[in-house]
């Protein structure tokens, strides 16, 4: 048992932190938000640091790193409030495609992801599904050597600018049957693919994706009783959850630091507001939620390589804690600032909005509570 970071991981953290400090200041971030919420240039800079290939094997030009390295990167991107969908385009895409690298469909994509030449994102959200991963209406039909997909996906990160999508679609079964879901790769520029982009609540970019007999290549077959496609989708989402947990810790860490500084400088009634016990107890509660969140972020990352059942249970526990923490820390840090906290000009509100969107991603807090509740065993604990 050891929660120290290796020297290599500390170096990785330093390099991301330096890039954020030098290359991603609030002015640039504001420009990216105004330009639509995604910068291909920033994405290429991340690739230049080798980061988009974090989960891509070395043979395909990546770094072949693991979950803890991803956590380190995500914490720093969260601290810097980076808009580009790194968890999606690097970690989920790299992780999922590496896991099925033998499929012809993957050919060449891992290299392009590592090089920053392709943005590949998961497009799984459907209107009727909320956070239920087995609920898939988009249909897949075998056509010659390949497949065609029809249906609609929502809130796809940078969807109108991405190069390809990882798409869960139904090959058989009822609308909520996990046995009939396969994963496909669909290129954005293919026939029958339409996107409609928009800004998201945190200033980033998302899109609606419409598929009408769009050509697709198979990544993970449905697998019938083995639920292989559904299992791969769960794995993809768990990569996303672990990443969001770490990103949230970085974001909260910075938001708390900003708030503490404000409390020590802002004066009312002739003294720093940090001297008022009502506010001191509030920041103590905030610190509690931050450390619980950090603990569960570690937990999520360190459970990523466990068997699926244990991994799912742990990731649901982690995302539940993070949901509670993000909402509390976000709301209280705005409150502790008073009026300045609700302005667009000040940074705290932007952290608040990002934390809010993260709670709504990959299963909100109530959803995760249900997951934990349904997966409870007789014993519980870190090693149970």
């Amino acid at each position: 048992m050891d929660f120290d970071f290796s020297d290599d991981q500390e170096m990785l953290r330093d390099s991301v932190r330096k890039w954020v400090a030098k290359g991603y200041d609030t002015e640039r971030r504001k420009r990216i938000v105004q330009a639509g919420g995604f910068s291909r240039e920033a994405w290429r800079e991340l690739a230049g640091l080798g980061l988009t290939g974090l989960f891509v094997p070395e043979a395909q030009g990546g770094m072949g790193f693991g979950p803890t390295d991803a956590m380190v990167v995500m914490e720093e991107l969260g601290r810097g409030l980076v808009l580009e969908p790194y968890a999606q385009g690097a970690l989920i895409a790299g992780g999922v495609l590496s896991a099925c690298a033998a499929q012809p469909a993957v050919d060449g994509w891992l290299e392009k992801i590592a090089g920053g030449d392709a943005l590949v994102v998961l497009a799984h959200q459907e209107r009727g599904a909320r956070y239920r991963l087995a609920q898939v209406e988009t249909s897949a039909t075998a056509a010659g050597d390949g497949w065609t997909l029809s249906g609609a996906k929502s809130v796809v990160p940078a969807g109108d600018l991405a190069d390809a999508f990882i798409v869960p679609a139904r090959v058989s079964g009822a609308v909520d049957d996990p046995a009939g879901i396969a994963l496909f790769l669909v290129e954005r520029r293919a026939t029958g693919v339409k996107t409609r982009g928009y800004g998201s609540a945190d200033g980033a970019r998302a899109a609606e994706l419409a598929l009408a007999d769009a050509p697709a290549t198979l990544l993970v077959p449905a697998g019938g009783a083995t639920h292989a496609g559904h299992a791969a989708l769960e794995y993809a989402v768990d990569i996303g959850i672990a990443a969001l947990c770490a990103e949230a810790v970085g974001a909260m860490d910075q938001l708390v630091a900003v708030t503490v500084e404000y409390m020590n400088t802002r004066k009312q009634f002739g003294v720093a507001i940090a001297s008022f016990q009502a506010l001191r107890h509030r920041i103590a509660d905030v610190k509690m939620q931050l450390e619980l969140a950090r603990s569960m972020s570690y937990f999520a990352t360190l459970k990523m390589n466990e068997p699926a059942a244990a991994r799912r249970r742990a990731l649901a526990q982690a995302k539940y804690q993070l949901g509670v923490s993000m909402r509390f820390v976000g709301q209280q840090c705005i409150q502790l600032h008073g009026g300045i906290g609700v302005t667009d000009e000040y940074i705290a509100g932007h952290y608040f909005k990002r934390l809010t969107v993260m709670e709504l991603s990959f299963g909100d807090t109530l959803h995760q509570l249900g997951e934990v509740s349904n997966r409870m065993q007789d014993t519980a604990g870190v090693f149970a």
Partner: protein, 392 residues
């Protein structure tokens, strides 16, 4: 980063587990698993079994007869004991006064007191709180006046846990009224059989006699019983509090109690009620998060790389979880928590239980555990401490 214990640590855990399975008396673990009343004999029997093995002072270094375990080993020992249903070791001797005697006591005091603490033969009590000194501990008034080779002690201590069994008591006493309140306090070891000491019970709202008032009326205490220097007692008291790190969270016992909660919730058919089960699920996440925080502290202590100053957070969270557990246990039994039959909380009671036998102590335990957010520095005081570390 690695979540798992090393093979050596796991082997150590296994060794402790087997030893506890062989040596913990079943009648005692039965009481602990069912929250039934523990007698002095139960507590002392277990203390002496540990003492014989040299583990009653399980956190002690080898030079004082302890096993010299590191932080991880201590944690594993505590966890195995807790999960097996061992009673909580009464901390005042082995966990509280012993480290102070080791660090600040004279060689004579060490020779005189440490063996009896380790063996479990001598029962120690804590004389800290007073009617006018609760959270504001530095305002203790209990007076010790030096007269020749003796201190003469006059005053009152309160909330003395299990003081009715005490052979000895360590006290914070006022030896000077000059300067700041903290600078006039001394740390005194007092034989509770000394003439002039009266122990009076305080019955708590669960109907139990767990805490006491201790009165001192011209009690003569040999000056040799002063630990360290006169008027330096506050420093030693703070050392004692700082010694409590992770086991203040008591997460191991909470894991055991969560299992009990699930068993009772299933038996009472509320486990299938989503609204109730979700409350258990929340608590389960709280416990995992607390355990992770404890493990982070242990890892930091082991490697010495990152020190994590979260003792206040552990105390707040650990105590809140303990209270929530007893609350949900009581709610699980619902109306069957209402009957309050004193004898039914005793192991082996032959009377007719109302509802199931496990219902009998649930309300009493809930009442009792209100203390956890108050003692050991109230949670509000802990928040002041946490805020100090955050805001500077």
């Amino acid at each position: 980063m690695d979540l798992n214990f090393t093979p050596e640590e796991q082997a150590f855990r296994q060794q402790i587990r087997s030893w506890v399975a062989e040596n913990l008396p079943k009648d005692i673990s039965h009481k602990v698993h069912n929250a039934l009343r523990l007698s002095k004999d139960d507590l002392q029997r277990w203390a002496k079994i540990l003492g014989k093995q040299g583990w009653h002072g399980w956190a002690w270094p080898t030079q004082f007869g302890g096993p010299g375990w590191n932080a991880i080993q201590r944690h594993l020992f505590e966890e195995e004991c807790a999960l097996a249903g061992a009673p909580r070791v009464v901390p005042f001797g082995p966990v509280m006064v012993a480290p102070v005697i080791m660090a600040f006591g004279s060689p004579e005091q060490q020779k005189r007191h440490l063996p009896g603490i380790m063996s479990g033969d001598v029962w120690w009590s804590q004389g800290y709180s007073e009617p006018g000194a609760g959270s504001d501990l530095a305002s203790v008034k209990c007076r010790a006046e030096r007269r020749g080779d003796y201190y003469v002690v006059n005053g009152q201590k309160t909330w003395t846990t299990l003081g009715q069994y005490g052979d000895w008591i360590f006290c914070l006493v006022r030896t000077s009224t000059e300067g700041k309140p903290q600078t006039g306090i001394s740390f005194l070891l007092i034989d509770m059989k000394s003439p002039g000491i009266t122990v009076r019970p305080i019955i708590t709202m669960d109907g139990e006699h767990e805490v006491n008032e201790v009165w001192f009326d011209d009690v003569e205490v040999p000056a040799d019983n002063l630990v360290g220097e006169e008027n330096k007692g506050w420093t030693y008291a703070k050392y004692l509090l700082a010694h409590e790190r992770t086991n203040i969270a008591d997460v191991n016992r909470s894991k055991r109690e969560l299992e009990r909660l699930k068993r009772i919730a299933k038996a009472e058919k509320v486990y299938d009620d989503v609204r109730f089960r979700d409350e258990i699920a929340k608590l389960e996440v709280d416990i995992v998060a607390l355990e992770m925080m404890v493990l982070r502290v242990l890892s930091g202590e082991k490697s010495g790389k990152q020190s994590l100053d979260v003792a206040g957070l552990l105390k707040i969270r650990g105590s809140e979880i303990q209270q929530r557990l007893t609350e949900l246990l009581m709610l699980a039994a619902g109306p069957y928590s209402v009957p309050f039959i004193h004898d039914a909380m005793e192991a082996g009671w032959q009377g007719d239980h109302v509802g199931a036998a496990y219902c009998a102590p649930l309300a009493a335990t809930y009442f009792n555990v209100r203390k956890t957010t108050i003692y050991g520095g109230s949670n509000e005081v802990q928040r002041n401490i946490v805020a100090q570390t955050v805001l500077g």
